[in-house]
Symmetry: none
Subunit: 418 residues, 2 copies
Amino acid sequence: MTAEILCIGTELLLGNITNGNARWIAEQLAALGIPHHRQTVVGDNRERLIAAVREAAGRCRLLITTGGLGPTPDDLTTEAIAAAFGAPLVEHPEVWSDIQAKITARGRAVAPSNRRQAQLPLGAAVLPNPAGTAPGMVWTPPAGAGIQPGFTVLTFPGVPSELELMWQVTAVAWLRDSTLAAGVFASRMLRFWGVAESSLAEQVADLLAGENPTVAPYAGAGQVKLRITARAGTAAAAAALLVPVEAELRRRTGSLCFGSDDDSLASVVLQLLRQRGQTLAVAESCTGGGLGAALAAVPGASDVFLGGVIAYANAVKQELLAVPLAALEADGAVSDSVATAMAEGVRRRTGATWALAVTGVAGPGGGSGDKPVGLVHIALAGPAGCSSEGVRFGSSRGRSWIQLLTVGEALNRLRLAL
Amino acid sequence: MTAEILCIGTELLLGNITNGNARWIAEQLAALGIPHHRQTVVGDNRERLIAAVREAAGRCRLLITTGGLGPTPDDLTTEAIAAAFGAPLVEHPEVWSDIQAKITARGRAVAPSNRRQAQLPLGAAVLPNPAGTAPGMVWTPPAGAGIQPGFTVLTFPGVPSELELMWQVTAVAWLRDSTLAAGVFASRMLRFWGVAESSLAEQVADLLAGENPTVAPYAGAGQVKLRITARAGTAAAAAALLVPVEAELRRRTGSLCFGSDDDSLASVVLQLLRQRGQTLAVAESCTGGGLGAALAAVPGASDVFLGGVIAYANAVKQELLAVPLAALEADGAVSDSVATAMAEGVRRRTGATWALAVTGVAGPGGGSGDKPVGLVHIALAGPAGCSSEGVRFGSSRGRSWIQLLTVGEALNRLRLAL
């Protein structure tokens, strides 16, 4: 007994908007413990909409649609769903009164086309829309060949704010009572830095095969994530199932795991420094401010992050960070000696407890034999002195990836030092 | 002869991520003139993935998949597509060599599971992945019942940056040659800053109703875009159709239009400065480095962008930028006097022709009655002196939006000054 989501709108097929409704509903279904195995998008086309509804009726118990409930000729959802099961449309006088009252209250004129919105297939119940004019419906079409027993459609408008309010006010209670929910889900996302998805997956291969909780790996933006998802009769029981699996994953992966759920490397580093009453400054060449921006993206960063210097040009490295000309001339800007001088310089100038400095070849130009594109030197200066190291990120993923990986790697080095 | 998009990933069904890939591909297909009538999402489940592929094969000519190309056990796409048409998997030695080389270049160990990524169905061609380890494929399965003649699958990874690079580098040429496109399309994206989508749309309403070229508005990340798309028998004829419409749009919108196609505000500003042989420095408080990072994101920025100071803490504003304590005490850090002192300070310290400074309340905390969350002061110092102004971005969209809009607004002010 599973659910599907069908989103209707040509604007989705043209790429004009992102399908945020599907994500929002998916999250709600997961929280309600209603399994959901497919999402479909079709345009404002009667024939293709009817086909998609018929197909879903043969696969799932609950179909949730969004979009196509408005008054214009390209709003086809209600009529096409009725036609998919050969049902006539019936006007609901109380809905028509409600629509007229809402339009009038907004100082607008009622158009004849609004009357279409008061029609529902024979036997459908109104799913009230507290925000907009168009109501949705709850409808179990007559049984028939190729229709799952008890197949039911819930329709929602495509405007996200109306959909979300309607869901919470009128649909959640129905869904909870529908016996579709097979328990309640709880999930936890663990976040990793400095390990490839494939090698992490091999370390935890036996846990990836688990059924409840399930563990699934994801890669993206330089980090790897493992999502643990458990199902049980209550939220507390589901959460309890997560605990031993999370503990085992953390035991095996040690310091590779930098946080969970909404943590970022920057938020974790800031929190560690906050607990110690310490501060941080940065000196950036190849990232041009990206390291500082990652820290400033975290609300409340200002009690720990002091700022720093964007030393993109060598003259700025000398003038604002007192990097010795000799180091620049002898070793070049991309070197441990310059990274060290940058970190120590910004630490001295700002009085921060810790300082991170990065200097590298972000490409696509500027690489050479011994200093290829993707080579970055990262220095960390702290109370016990300064260390610097060259890291090679390779050139295949391009400039923005090298900058992104440099920011993550620098923050991770400070995290491990703390 | 239409296309469909099939996105594979349990994280989409759980609502963990928004399906931005479907939107991105939809936009690309629209620009290429390839009609596309359905999008489907399924989880990492072999049986349901096979069913979705078979169904699509009966409906469309081109199926584009995203996700499930990684090395872990829940990456099932290639194997399930092969199974859907009863084809065996064949290892491609050159792909396996390439995967090993890429992993080794990143200083990581090759795992046995990576070898799965070198297997494709018999008869499939490799669709190279310039960024990641996993290649995609182009495959026309053997003809059969329930399969549209010429049905072809293109597979892409789920990581957006890899997908987008692969699409542009290896797929676009194939798609243009595929005869799926109905005619030849040419398109041009005009980019705007400082105008709302609705008001821009009203200014050009008559052109939005055009059929060839079409003009479609898009909003996102603080800027508004108009895409002009023309269709004709040849590329030259299609491009010629764009010219008068672009000229008319530029005439009506004047300086609101900052660039086209791959331009960013940062790239346009850097180019204007480069033409004048001038340089730029930044002093950032509330953006924490985001303004510098936007400039450093542009390849070749280093001949114009010198760097600057991230003056997050007031002590750094004083120490590195010589902002007078009196200004900080009398007017507060978020003020025209401090923004001006920051801009003049960084211009003096770096010797840049121009300097931009931003200081504001990014929130969610730190707002007050006369300095609410979303208030940002932006100063521009140049050869003719310094001007500063307070801008209110509001608080409703949150911290990251305020930072993003601050970066754009600052760059746009310099653009207009130039």
